[in-house]
C-alpha cells in the first residue's frame, strides 16, 4: 500500500538530478503531521472550542505552533543541504492509460522538497503569527470558535495543497482552501454585502477551478500519472512527449491558477474578499490563498519550461496586465484594505510574470518576501481599523503618535513593498525584472518598472493618509494590545532581512542561497536566475520606487492634505476610470443589460403597438363577424340539439355509476385484486 519514494521515480528515463539530495531525517518522514494537525484542530475546535477559555484559539495556535516548529526544522535542514522525499499512498487504481503503461492511480501523500518546505514554512510562520494576532483581534467578536476552526481549515487545506505530490491531492487542498475562504470572507454574513462577497469569491474561483480540473483530466491520463515528480522527470527527459496536449493542459492549469491568484480578468473577487475579518485578509493575501496559483505554476514549472513553451508568452502577457493595470486601482481606493488588496493583485502579477517567463526562483522569492510584508501590512491595517472602527482612510490620519508600533511596522512593510534597497521587496522585485529582461520580455520589463513606481506611489499615499496629518475619525484611537503588536514586529524583521537570503552571487557561510534551496527538486528546474547583481536594473527599479514615494509624498503629505487634495489625482479620463474599476463590474450592467432595456425595449414596444396590434385587431374583427354567423346558424339550430341529448344521457348514467365511486381506496384495491385474479384465470384457461 504505502510506497515511499525517496529518490527519482522510475517510469521514464530517470533524471539524475535528485542524486545529491538527501531524504531528510525524522522530520521529513513525519511531515504529514503538518498536513493533518490543522484538521485535527479544526474538528477539536468545533467539538470543544466553545467550552475553552480562549474559545478554541489556543487549539488553533497550538497546532500552528507545532507546525511552525516542524517547518522550521525542515527549513534549516534544507538550507544546509537539499532534501527530497516523496511518499505516496495508493487509495485506488484507476486503470492503464496514457504513454506510460502504468496504472493511473488515485494517491494521497506528501512531498518534502525545496519548494514545499518553503511553502510549509511560510504558511506555518505567517499562519502562526496571524492566529496569535487574531486571538487579540477577535476578542469579544461573534462566532469566535467557528472563526478559528475555519482558520485552521484554511491553513490545513493550504498545507495539503502545498504538500501534494500529485494533482488530485492538490485539487483537494485547492477546494478546501476555496471552501475555507468562503466561510471566512462571509464570517459576518448577517450583512448581505459580506455574504455576497463570499459568494463572489467562491464562484469566481469555481470558474477557474474548471480549468484546473480539466487540465488535470487532460494531463494525468496523457502522462499516465498525476504525480508532479513524474511530470518533472518526463519534461526533463522527453520534452516533446505530450505534444499539443501539454500546451492545452498547461493553459488550463494556468486558468485555474488565474482564479486563485487573482489574475486579470478573474481578479474581481479579491478586493471584495476584504469583507472578512482582517486577519483572514492577511492570511489570504500572504500565505494561504492567493499564493496557491503561483505555487501551482512553480510546482508544474517543468511543464511550462520544457514542454509547453508556447503557452508562456500568453501567461506573461496576462500577468503583466495584472501587475500594471490593476495596480492603478489602488491609487483611488479609500478603503485601506482595498488599497492593499489591489497591491496584492499587482504583486501577484509580478510573481506570475516571473514564473511564466521562466524565473522559477524569482517568482517564488517574491512570493516568499511578499508573504512577510503583505501579512505585516494587513495586520497593521487591521490594527488601525481595530483602533478607529472604520476601513476608510478618510476616517484616519495622524495615527503616527497614537499607534507608534503599528506606524513603524507599517512603514517598514510599505517601503519593503515599494522596493527600496536593502529591504526584502527590493531584492525580489529586482530579480523579477532581471528575469523578464533576460528572457526577452524587454517591453514588459519596463512596464514592470513602471509598475514599481505605481506601487511606491500608492503605498506612500496610504501611509500618508493613514498616519500623517490630522485625525478625522471619531473617538480616541489607541495602540493595539500587545498580542496584536508583537506579530507585527515579528513580521517586520523578515520584511527587512529576507531579501538578503538571495542576493545573487552572495552567500552567507553555511546558509545556502534561496535559489539553491528552493531549487531542491527531483529534477533541477533549469530556470534563469541572475548570477550577479545587475546594478543598472536595480538602479532603474530603485529610481522608480523613490520617484513613486517622492510623488506620493508631494501629493499627499500633511501640508497638502485637504479633502480636495486627496482627489488631486483627478486626471480627467483616468480618475473616473479607476474609481469605477475600469468598468469591469459595470461592463455587464452597461454593456449587456442596458442596451436590452433601452433601445431594444423601445423597438419591441413599437412593433408591439403598430404591427402586432393591427394584426390582432384585424383578426379579432374578422373572428367576431364569423362568430356571429356560426352562432346564429350552426350552433343554436344544429349542434345544441345533439349536445343536450348527450348531456342528458350522461347525467342519467352517472347517477347510477357514481355509486361505484365510493372514494374508498381499499374498495378500489379489492376490485383490482379480484380483476387481476380473473384475468390470470382467464389467461391460463385460454392458453
Amino acid at each position: 500500500m504505502v510506497s515511499a519514494v525517496t529518490s527519482a521515480p522510475s517510469i521514464l528515463a530517470a533524471g539524475d538530478g535528485a542524486a545529491d539530495l538527501s531524504s531528510g531525517g525524522f522530520f521529513a518522514g513525519t511531515a504529514w503531521i503538518m498536513l493533518v494537525l490543522p484538521f485535527v484542530a479544526f474538528l477539536a475546535i468545533i467539538l470543544v472550542g466553545k467550552r475553552m477559555k480562549g474559545l478554541g484559539a489556543e487549539l488553533a495556535i497550538g497546532a500552528m505552533g507545532v507546525n511552525l516548529v516542524w517547518a522550521s526544522v525542515l527549513f534549516v535542514q534544507n538550507m544546509a543541504g537539499g532534501i527530497y522525499r516523496e511518499v505516496n499512498l495508493t487509495i485506488a487504481e484507476i486503470g492503464t492509460l496514457g504513454i506510460t503503461d502504468r496504472n493511473l492511480a488515485f494517491e494521497l501523500g506528501f512531498v518534502v522538497d525545496g519548494l514545499s518546505i518553503m511553502m510549509y514554512w511560510v504558511v506555518a510562520f505567517v499562519g502562526f503569527l496571524v492566529f496569535v494576532y487574531a486571538h487579540g483581534y477577535m476578542k469579544g467578536d461573534i462566532r469566535v470558535p467557528w472563526f478559528f476552526a475555519s482558520l485552521s481549515l484554511f491553513a490545513g487545506s493550504m498545507l495539503v495543497l502545498v504538500g501534494a505530490p500529485n494533482l488530485i491531492q492538490l485539487i483537494i487542498g485547492w477546494e478546501g482552501v476555496g471552501l475555507a475562504s468562503y466561510l471566512l470572507i462571509g464570517h459576518y454574513w448577517e450583512e448581505k454585502e459580506n455574504s455576497d462577497a463570499a459568494v463572489k469569491a467562491f464562484m469566481t474561483n469555481k470558474v477557474a477551478d474548471v480549468g484546473l480540473i480539466l487540465g488535470t483530466i487532460l494531463l494525468g491520463p496523457a502522462l499516465g500519472s498525476f504525480r508532479f515528480s513524474e511530470l518533472s522527470v518526463a519534461a526533463d527527459a522527453h520534452s516533446d512527449l505530450l505534444g499539443g496536449v501539454a500546451v492545452a493542459g498547461a493553459l488550463l492549469l494556468f486558468f485555474g491558477a488565474m482564479g486563485k491568484s487573482a489574475q486579470f480578468p478573474l481578479h474581481v473577487w479579491l478586493p471584495d474578499a476584504m469583507a472578512g475579518p482582517t486577519p483572514v485578509s492577511a492570511l489570504m493575501h500572504a500565505a494561504t490563498m492567493v499564493t496557491a496559483g503561483i505555487y501551482l505554476m512553480a510546482r508544474t514549472f517543468p511543464l511550462y519550461h520544457q514542454m509547453a513553451t508556447e503557452a508562456r508568452p500568453w501567461m506573461v502577457t496576462i500577468a503583466v496586465i495584472t501587475l500594471f493595470v490593476l495596480g492603478f486601482l489602488a491609487l483611488v481606493a479609500d478603503d485601506l484594505k482595498r488599497v492593499l488588496a489591489y497591491s496584492t493583485v499587482s504583486q501577484l502579477g509580478y510573481m506570475m510574470a516571473a514564473v511564466a517567463a521562466g524565473g522559477y526562483t524569482a517568482g517564488l522569492f517574491h512570493l516568499f518576501t511578499h508573504a512577510f510584508f503583505k501579512a505585516l501590512l494587513f495586520l497593521g491595517a487591521g490594527s488601525v481599523i481595530h483602533a478607529v472602527h472604520s476601513n476608510n482612510m478618510s476616517d484616519m490620519g495622524g495615527l503616527r503618535k497614537e499607534m507608534p508600533v503599528t506606524f513603524w511596522t507599517f512603514v517598514v512593510g510599505s517601503i519593503s513593498l515599494a522596493g527600496v534597497i536593502p529591504l526584502a521587496g527590493f531584492w525580489s522585485k529586482d530579480e523579477i525584472l532581471a528575469t523578464l529582461g533576460h528572457e526577452g520580455y524587454t517591453a514588459f520589463m519596463w512596464v514592470a518598472i513602471l509598475g514599481a513606481f505605481v506601487t511606491a506611489f500608492y503605498m506612500t499615499r496610504a501611509v500618508a493618509l493613514t498616519f500623517f496629518g490630522t485625525y478625522k475619525g471619531h473617538g480616541h484611537p489607541h495602540e493595539s494590545p500587545r498580542v496584536m503588536t508583537w506579530p507585527l514586529v515579528a513580521l517586520a524583521v523578515p520584511s527587512v532581512i529576507a531579501g538578503l537570503l538571495n542576493i545573487p552571487g552572495v552567500s552567507w557561510g553555511p546558509i545556502r542561497n534561496f535559489t539553491d534551496w528552493v531549487g531542491a527538486r527531483i529534477v533541477p528546474m533549469g530556470d534563469y536566475h541572475p548570477k550577479a547583481i545587475e546594478w543598472d536594473l536595480a538602479a532603474y527599479g530603485l529610481i522608480a520606487a523613490v520617484a513613486g514615494i517622492a510623488l506620493g509624498w508631494r501629493l499627499f503629505s500633511p501640508e497638502a492634505e485637504t479633502q480636495p487634495a486627496r482627489d488631486r489625482l483627478e486626471v480627467p479620463v483616468l480618475y473616473p476610470l479607476l474609481r469605477r474599476k475600469y468598468y469591469i463590474d459595470d461592463l455587464y450592467m452597461k454593456g449587456v443589460v442596458n442596451p436590452i432595456k433601452g433601445p431594444l425595449a423601445r423597438a419591441v414596444d413599437w412593433v408591439n403597438g403598430y404591427v402586432i396590434d393591427a394584426v390582432i385587431n384585424g383578426a379579432g374583427a374578422v373572428t367576431a363577424w364569423l362568430g356571429g354567423l356560426v352562432y346564429g346558424r350552426l350552433d343554436q339550430q344544429g349542434i345544441d340539439l345533439l349536445l343536450n341529448a348527450a348531456a342528458g344521457g350522461t347525467r342519467g348514467a352517472g347517477g347510477k355509476l357514481r355509486l361505484l365511486q365510493s372514494g374508498k381506496v381499499q374498495q378500489y384495491a379489492g376490485a383490482f385484486v379480484v380483476g387481476a385474479l380473473l384475468l390470470v384465470v382467464a389467461f391460463v384457461l385460454v392458453t
Binding site: R658, Q661, S662, G663, K664, V665, Q666, A669, G670, V673
Partner: protein, 101 residues
C-alpha cells in the same frame, strides 16, 4: 428442498398481505401489509434463482431491486401518511375519500 415449497410459502405470504391490504383501516398497517407482499415476491425470486442456478444470479439482483424500491415506497408512503395525518388528524385510510364523486 424443492421449489414448490417456497412457491407455496410465497403464495401464502402474498395472500396474507392481500388480506392485510384490504382489511386494515390504519394506513401504517396497510403499508406493513404491502411490505409482506413484497417479501413474498422476494422469496419467489430467490427460490427461482436457486432453481435455475444461473451464473449471473439474476434473481438475487432483482430481489435487491425489489428491496430498494420497497424502501423508496415506504419513504414516500409514510410521508404521504404524515401529510394526511397533518391535514385530517387521522391515520385512517377510509377517511381518505377525496376521490369520491
Amino acid at each position: 428442498m424443492v421449489l414448490s415449497q417456497f412457491l407455496i410459502l410465497g403464495a401464502l405470504m402474498f395472500s396474507i398481505g392481500v388480506y392485510g391490504l384490504l382489511s386494515r383501516r390504519n394506513a401504517v398497517t396497510v403499508l406493513l401489509a404491502v411490505e409482506l407482499m413484497l417479501a413474498a415476491v422476494n422469496i419467489n425470486l430467490i427460490a427461482f434463482e436457486a432453481f435455475w442456478n444461473t451464473a449471473a444470479a439474476h434473481g438475487q439482483i432483482f430481489a435487491i431491486f425489489v428491496i430498494t424500491i420497497a424502501a423508496a415506497e415506504v419513504g414516500i408512503g409514510l410521508a404521504i401518511i404524515l401529510l394526511v395525518f397533518r391535514n385530517r388528524a387521522s391515520g385512517n385510510i377510509d377517511q381518505l375519500d377525496l376521490m369520491r364523486w
